[in-house]
Amino acid sequence: MQAPDSDLLTHLADHVLRALPGDPELTYIDAQKILYLTQKRLDSENRVAAALPFYWYLHGPMSKAVSYTLRDAKHSGVVDGRTTATGGQVYTPGSADPPAVDRDEDVVAAERAVEAVVAEYDVFGELDERLREEIYVDAPYEFQQYYKFELLPAVEAFAREPYYLTHTPEEIQFRLARAEGKAPTDEAFAEWRRRLSRFVTLAETYLETVDESEKPVVETFERLAEDVWELFAKQLRIEEHDAAYADDVDDWKLEYDNSQQSLDDSLRRFEATLEEQFDLYDAPDGRDEQSVRTPEESGWGTVADSLLEGPHRD
């Protein structure tokens, strides 16, 4: 992406902070989302809208232009910023004046759009709630809403709770199965889909074996659920971005390949751990060759019949 129109966007970022109610404090993610919603309200010919290209990523639409602008505005003192305990950035108005810009029709329209967005955007509520209600209504895939807001928080709660307070293993299995059913079917996601399904296979095996008193390697399970989401997001930004990011795609593909390799390694390690800890795939005593063959009524027989010739086709 080319260097953003820094003065213009710094002016706009300052306007966002001043439009916020009370003592304004703005997180990095909220800054991105407010400017995304602002851009959406503007005509495509508006020069401010053209200066705000976005791509879909982990937490919804993100813009390098916004990221660079906040970094530069902090450096020049137009905004103050501090790093939170979790490593995020929080911004407040700075002591320096924003750069002077020609407040033409486009800029005035953008200022009005910022004010309208801020009036509706609940910065004091739960982040996931406002992302879900304000941002993910635009998500390209239903899968995104389900995985991010229905599966990941449940997996996190399951991993953190000493007992099954809110989520049982069966319920997590149901959510995993549903997420798999909602996976995007586009060819671009074919490689990622394989990883999702392998994760689901291993996760189901894992969840069959845990019990209430002991949830070994649950942190690994949780981390894998997040890694699958991150890999999805890395493919998503390759597919869903404004034209200004055309030059970034090759780098994004390299990042995707590296993350895919890393996830493959993690999945293999997880499977090896499961085998060590839970004696998977041991046949019950006394069972013969039939023990590896399933009957017609299993359902698999019906599917397999259709697959005998050429099962490789995607």
Binding site: R198, Y281, T294, E296, W300, E309, R313
Partner: protein, 235 residues
């Protein structure tokens, strides 16, 4: 060339996981007339591919169930054919993808019809659990075979390469023009197994006529030490 054993293609491995009338005879006929008299091996890539096929079909069954539950516009007299028509359209009438799913719906017609009539996630969860059980069985079978379980000794060849592009460049290019990536690499696995072990040759045992058995001459000319075995010939 003397074949000392058979290298199993994915479709033979998957066919072996099912014990019923339509799949049993062709697989059993192969075993009785040929397979049980010789060493049988499959590469890590074959076992992985078999697992992927099972996972892919499970995913599609779940996609169908989820969409029927969420999006099917229920009428008063819906039949399982209405549900199948809907699923067909959801998969853009791609028969290669939707065919096994439609067969699966026939097998669970009451469950899928039930999904059209309810908003209860409990009902969907119950259907998903049936799907989970159906697809866990073959996955378990493949994993046990991989680890030497069951009466059949199917050796796993673990020496395959991630890519054969540089190791066998000329053969790779020839097969690349003839087959899809998976078939190309499975065949090169069998060739590599001959090259790095004491074997004088391997039969590549397959039920895939359209892509592999019908191209046997070209494949055998390209891969010395490998002969294509059309497993349908034993039926």
């Amino acid at each position: 060339m003397t074949e000392t054993g058979d290298f199993w293609d994915t479709n033979l491995l998957l066919g072996y996981t099912v014990d019923w009338d339509r799949l049993g005879p062709p697989v059993d006929a192969y075993l009785q007339l040929r397979g049980s008299h010789r060493e049988t091996i499959a590469s890590t890539r074959v076992f992985e591919e078999a697992r992927r096929v099972v996972e892919k079909q499970r995913r599609r069954a779940r996609t169908a169930a989820d969409r029927v539950f969420e999006q099917f516009d229920a009428g008063r007299h819906d039949t399982v054919d209405d549900v199948k028509d809907f699923v067909c359209a959801e998969f853009a009438d791609d028969w290669g993808k939707v065919g096994p799913v439609l067969d699966y719906i026939d097998h669970h017609d009451s469950a899928f019809l039930g999904l059209t009539e309810t908003d209860s996630e409990r009902v969907l969860q119950s259907t998903f659990e049936e799907i989970t059980d159906d697809f866990a069985e073959p996955d378990d079978s493949v994993q046990r075979l991989r680890r030497g379980g069951g009466a059949l000794a199917l050796e796993q060849f673990t020496g395959g390469l991630d890519s054969y592009r540089s190791e066998y460049a000329a053969r790779y290019d020839k097969l690349d023009g003839l087959l899809d990536d998976t078939d190309r690499d499975l065949l090169l696995d069998s060739h590599h197994a001959v090259a790095v072990t004491e074997r004088s040759g391997l039969g590549f045992a397959t039920f895939d006529r359209g892509d592999i058995a019908d191209n046997d001459e070209a494949i055998e000319a390209c891969l010395d030490g490998v002969s294509v075995v059309d497993c349908w010939q034993f039926s």
